[in-house]
C-alpha cells in the first residue's frame, strides 16, 4: 500500500485551504446613472459563528439592496460601495473587523453587528472615529443609559419595543396567565422583564419564569418545570426550534409566543405540524400578501425572494426582520445624506444634527411597510410590529401592533450634547 507522505498531506491541506478561499471583505459597486466618488458603507456582519443564521439575511439584504440602490440612482447621485466583513459572531473579531472598516477601508458609514456585545463594544469605537454606526442589535441596552452614543442610530426594533407592543395583543387574544421560558443570558433576561411589564400593563400576569442556563445540553428538565396551567408560554431562547419540539412532545398544547425576531433564527417550516399555534413578533410578515406593499414586492424581487417569502436560491424562508432592519438603515442613510447635504465624512456631525430633527420617515422604497418614527433623544426607531402565527404549515399575519404601542421611555437625551 502506498504510504501517505508528509508532502502529500501538506499539499492536500494546502489545496483544501485554497479551495476554501472565497472573498470575505466583499466590495460591491454597481453604478448606473450615478457619478462621483462612491459612498462607502461598511457592514459588520455575522457571516459565520453561532449567529450566522441571522447574518445570512443581513448579508443578503445589504448586498441586494446596495445593488438595488446603485441601479436606482445611488445615494445623492453617487454610487454606493459596500464592504462586508465577518465578525465570526465573536466580540474580539467583531471589534477588530470594525477597526479594519474604519481605519483601513475608511468607510463613511457602518451597518453594525446584531450581537449585542459586539454592538456595544463597537459603538464607542465608531463614536470616537466620528463614523455613523447603524446598530442592528435588538438589545434595548444598546440605546440605553451608558451605551447610547451620538454617532449611533437604530432603525430596527428592540426587546423593550416588541414586548411593549405585542404583550397587549397577545393578552387580549390568548389569555391573562403566562409562563416564560427564557435563555439565562442578558437577552433572555431582558425579554423576560419587558414581557412581564407588558403583560402586567395589559392586565395579565406572568407566573414562574423558567431560566434555561447557557449551553444546557438538555432542555427537557427545564421545560418540565413550565406551569401547565398557563394560557400562553413566552419563549425567548436561542434554540427555539428545539424548545417548541420538546414542549409539544411533552404534552404542552398552549399557545406559544416566540420573542422578537426569532423567525430569523430558523426556518419556521422545520417545525412541521408542531408549529401550528406558534406565534412570532417580527417587523415584517413573511408572505407578500400580508404586507400588501408594492415597495416590499420590489425588495423581495431585488433579493430573489418569491411571493411566499421563500428565498429562491437557498430555499429558506426569509428572515424578514433582518431584511427590514437593513433596508431601513440604508433608507436612513440615504434620506439624511440627501437632505443634509452630506458630502464627506466630516459632514457626519451635521447629518446627525439634521437627523435629530427628522421625526418621521415616510413609507417608500426602503421603508416599505409604512412610516417609521425616530426618537431623537436616544436615536431609536419605532415601527409597526407584525404578530405572526403559524397555521397549517405556513406563517401568516395575525395582527399588527401599531408603532405607538411599542414606545417605551427613553433613558438618555443625546440632543442635549
Amino acid at each position: 500500500m502506498k504510504r501517505i507522505s508528509r508532502r502529500i498531506v501538506l499539499l492536500g491541506s494546502a489545496a483544501a485551504a485554497t479551495a476554501s478561499l472565497v472573498p470575505t471583505a466583499v466590495t460591491r459597486v454597481l453604478a448606473q446613472g450615478t457619478s462621483g466618488d462612491p459612498i462607502v458603507i461598511g457592514h459588520q456582519c455575522e457571516l459565520t459563528g453561532w449567529d450566522s443564521a441571522t447574518g445570512f439575511w443581513r448579508d443578503k439584504a445589504a448586498t441586494g439592496l446596495v445593488d438595488w440602490l446603485n441601479a436606482n440612482g445611488g445615494i445623492a447621485g453617487r454610487p454606493v460601495k459596500l464592504v462586508t466583513v465577518d465578525t465570526k459572531s465573536d466580540v474580539d473579531t467583531g471589534v477588530n473587523q470594525l477597526r479594519h472598516l474604519l481605519i483601513q477601508e475608511k468607510v463613511d458609514f457602518v451597518i453594525g453587528a446584531e450581537i449585542s456585545s459586539i454592538a456595544l463594544a463597537s459603538n464607542t469605537i465608531a463614536n470616537e472615529n466620528r463614523t455613523l454606526y447603524m446598530t442592528m442589535s435588538s438589545s434595548e441596552a444598546t440605546t440605553g443609559k451608558g451605551a447610547a452614543v451620538p454617532y449611533q442610530f437604530r432603525m430596527t426594533t428592540n426587546s423593550a419595543a416588541t414586548a411593549a407592543g405585542a404583550a397587549q395583543k397577545y393578552v387580549e387574544s390568548i389569555g391573562k396567565r403566562w409562563a416564560t421560558f427564557f435563555a439565562d443570558i442578558k437577552w433572555g433576561q431582558s425579554e423576560r422583564d419587558w414581557w412581564q411589564k407588558g403583560v402586567a400593563a395589559a392586565g395579565g400576569e406572568v407566573g414562574r419564569a423558567i431560566a434555561l442556563p447557557v449551553d444546557a445540553p438538555d432542555l427537557l428538565p427545564f421545560i418540565a418545570q413550565i406551569d401547565r396551567s398557563a394560557d400562553g408560554i413566552f419563549i425567548p431562547v436561542l434554540n427555539a426550534l428545539q424548545a417548541i419540539q420538546l414542549l409539544r412532545s411533552s404534552g404542552y398544547d398552549q399557545q406559544v409566543v416566540l420573542a422578537g425576531l426569532s423567525f430569523s433564527l430558523f426556518d419556521y417550516r422545520e417545525l412541521g405540524a408542531m408549529g401550528d399555534g406558534v406565534f412570532g413578533i417580527e417587523t415584517a410578515p413573511v408572505a407578500l400578501k400580508d404586507s400588501a406593499s408594492g415597495e416590499m414586492a420590489e425588495i423581495y424581487k431585488a433579493l430573489g425572494i418569491d411571493d411566499e417569502g421563500i428565498h429562491t436560491a437557498s430555499g429558506k424562508a426569509a428572515g424578514t426582520s433582518m431584511i427590514m432592519g437593513i433596508a431601513q438603515s440604508l433608507g436612513f442613510v440615504k434620506a439624511n445624506v440627501e437632505a443634509s447635504g452630506w458630502k464627506v465624512k466630516d459632514d457626519t456631525a451635521a447629518l446627525i444634527r439634521h437627523a435629530e430633527t427628522v421625526e418621521t420617515y415616510a413609507r417608500g422604497p426602503l421603508f416599505p411597510l409604512g412610516n417609521v418614527i425616530v426618537r431623537p433623544q436616544d436615536h431609536q426607531a419605532f415601527m409597526d410590529i407584525y404578530l405572526l402565527k403559524i397555521a397549517s404549515g405556513t406563517v401568516g399575519k395575525y395582527a399588527v401592533a401599531p408603532k405607538e404601542s411599542t414606545i417605551y421611555p427613553a433613558e438618555v437625551d443625546l440632543t442635549k450634547g
Partner: protein, 315 residues
C-alpha cells in the same frame, strides 16, 4: 536550567513588535496590543500545564476574572493603571488558588475534567449574574482619566498599550528566567517530573504545585486586566470554554513545555487568522488544518524546533 535561547527569542519577538508598531499603523498596532494581552493567557496555560502539572482548561476563566476585576476596580479606584493591573493579577491569583486547592485533590485526568466543569460553570454563572458582569452584553470600562506613574495614559487598542503590555510581559519573562536558575525552581521541576519522589524527599509537592498554579493565575489575571484596558469592554465570552481552548492552541503552537513559546503561538495563530479574514470566511478551517500539521510534525511547537528531538527528550 535557564533557557537563554527561549528568553532571547521571546524578548526579540516583543522588541520587534514594539519596533514595527509605528510603521504598521493604527489598526495593526491595536491588533498587536490585543495579541500581547493574550500572550499572558498562553503563558499561564504553559505554567499550569507544564510546571504545576494541572491541565487547566479553565485558564480563560481566570483571565476573565482579571478582566472583570479591572473593570470593577476602575469604578472604585479611578484611572490608576497600576492599581487596576494589580487588581486583575490579584483576582487571577485568588481564583487560581481556589481552583488549584480543589484540583490538586483530583487525578491528572480528573483535574482536566474538573477545569472543564469549572469553565462551564463560571460561564453560566457569569451569564446569569448580569448585574455584575453585564452578561452577554458585557461591561464597558468606565470612562476615567487613566494614568500610569502620574502620567496621563490613553487606554485602548493603541501603540501606548502595546508598549505597556510588552514591557510588563518582558519584565515577567525576565523575572521568570532569573527565577528558573534558582534552587526553588529546581524543586518545582522535580515536583513536576515526579511529585511522589519529591514528596518522599521531604518537599511539599502539593504546596509547590499550588503555588505555581496561583502564579499562573496571577499571570492570566494580569493579562485579563491589560485586555480590559485595551478592549475597554469585557463581555462574558472572555470566560468561555472556547477562549480557554484558544489559550491551549496558542501554547501548543508556540511550544507548551516552554513559557517562552506562548508569545510566538499567539502571534502565529492570531496574525494568520487576521490576515486570512481578509480573504475567506473559512478561517477556522484553515487554522484547524494548521494545528493538525503542528500536532503531527511539530509536537513541541515552534520552540521545539530549535534542538534535535533527542536533546528535547532528555529535558
Amino acid at each position: 536550567m535557564r533557557d537563554r535561547v527561549g528568553i532571547v527569542t521571546a524578548l526579540g519577538v516583543l522588541t520587534v513588535l514594539c519596533a514595527i508598531a509605528p510603521l504598521v499603523g493604527e489598526f495593526w498596532s491595536g491588533v498587536l496590543a490585543r495579541c500581547v494581552s493574550w500572550m499572558f493567557l498562553a503563558i499561564s496555560f504553559s505554567l499550569a500545564y507544564s510546571y504545576a502539572n494541572i491541565p487547566s482548561v479553565a485558564q480563560a476563566t481566570v483571565f476573565g476574572a482579571g478582566a472583570y476585576a479591572a473593570v470593577w476596580a476602575t469604578s472604585l479606584v479611578g484611572g490608576n493603571m497600576i492599581l487596576i493591573m494589580t487588581a486583575g493579577a490579584a483576582a487571577g491569583a485568588l481564583i487560581a488558588l481556589v481552583f488549584g486547592a480543589l484540583l490538586l485533590k483530583m487525578s491528572h485526568s480528573g483535574a482536566a475534567i474538573g477545569t472543564i466543569i469549572s469553565a462551564v460553570t463560571f460561564s453560566m454563572l457569569g451569564n446569569a449574574a448580569v448585574a455584575y458582569t453585564g452578561g452577554t452584553d458585557g461591561l464597558p470600562m468606565p470612562a476615567q482619566a487613566f494614568h500610569l506613574l502620574g502620567m496621563p495614559f490613553a487606554v485602548g487598542p493603541n501603540i501606548g498599550m502595546l508598549l505597556l503590555g510588552s514591557a510588563v510581559l518582558a519584565a515577567l519573562l525576565v523575572a521568570f528566567w532569573l527565577f528558573s536558575g534558582t534552587r526553588t525552581w529546581r524543586v518545582v521541576r522535580a515536583v513536576q517530573q515526579n511529585a511522589m519522589r519529591a514528596q518522599v524527599l521531604g518537599y511539599n509537592a502539593a504546596g509547590y504545585r499550588l503555588a505555581v498554579f496561583a502564579v499562573s493565575g496571577c499571570v492570566a489575571g494580569l493579562g485579563g486586566a491589560l485586555y480590559a484596558l485595551i478592549s475597554r469592554h469585557v463581555a462574558i465570552e472572555v470566560v468561555s470554554l472556547s477562549m480557554s481552548l484558544k489559550s491551549i492552541l496558542w501554547a501548543a503552537v508556540g511550544g507548551v513545555t516552554s513559557i517562552y513559546g506562548g508569545p510566538i503561538g499567539v502571534l502565529a495563530v492570531q496574525l494568520a487568522s487576521e490576515l486570512l479574514l481578509r480573504w475567506t470566511v473559512r478561517v477556522d478551517l484553515i487554522i484547524g488544518l494548521m494545528l493538525i500539521a503542528v500536532a503531527l510534525w511539530m509536537p513541541r511547537g515552534v520552540m521545539g524546533l530549535r534542538r534535535p528531538r533527542s536533546s528535547q527528550q532528555s529535558q
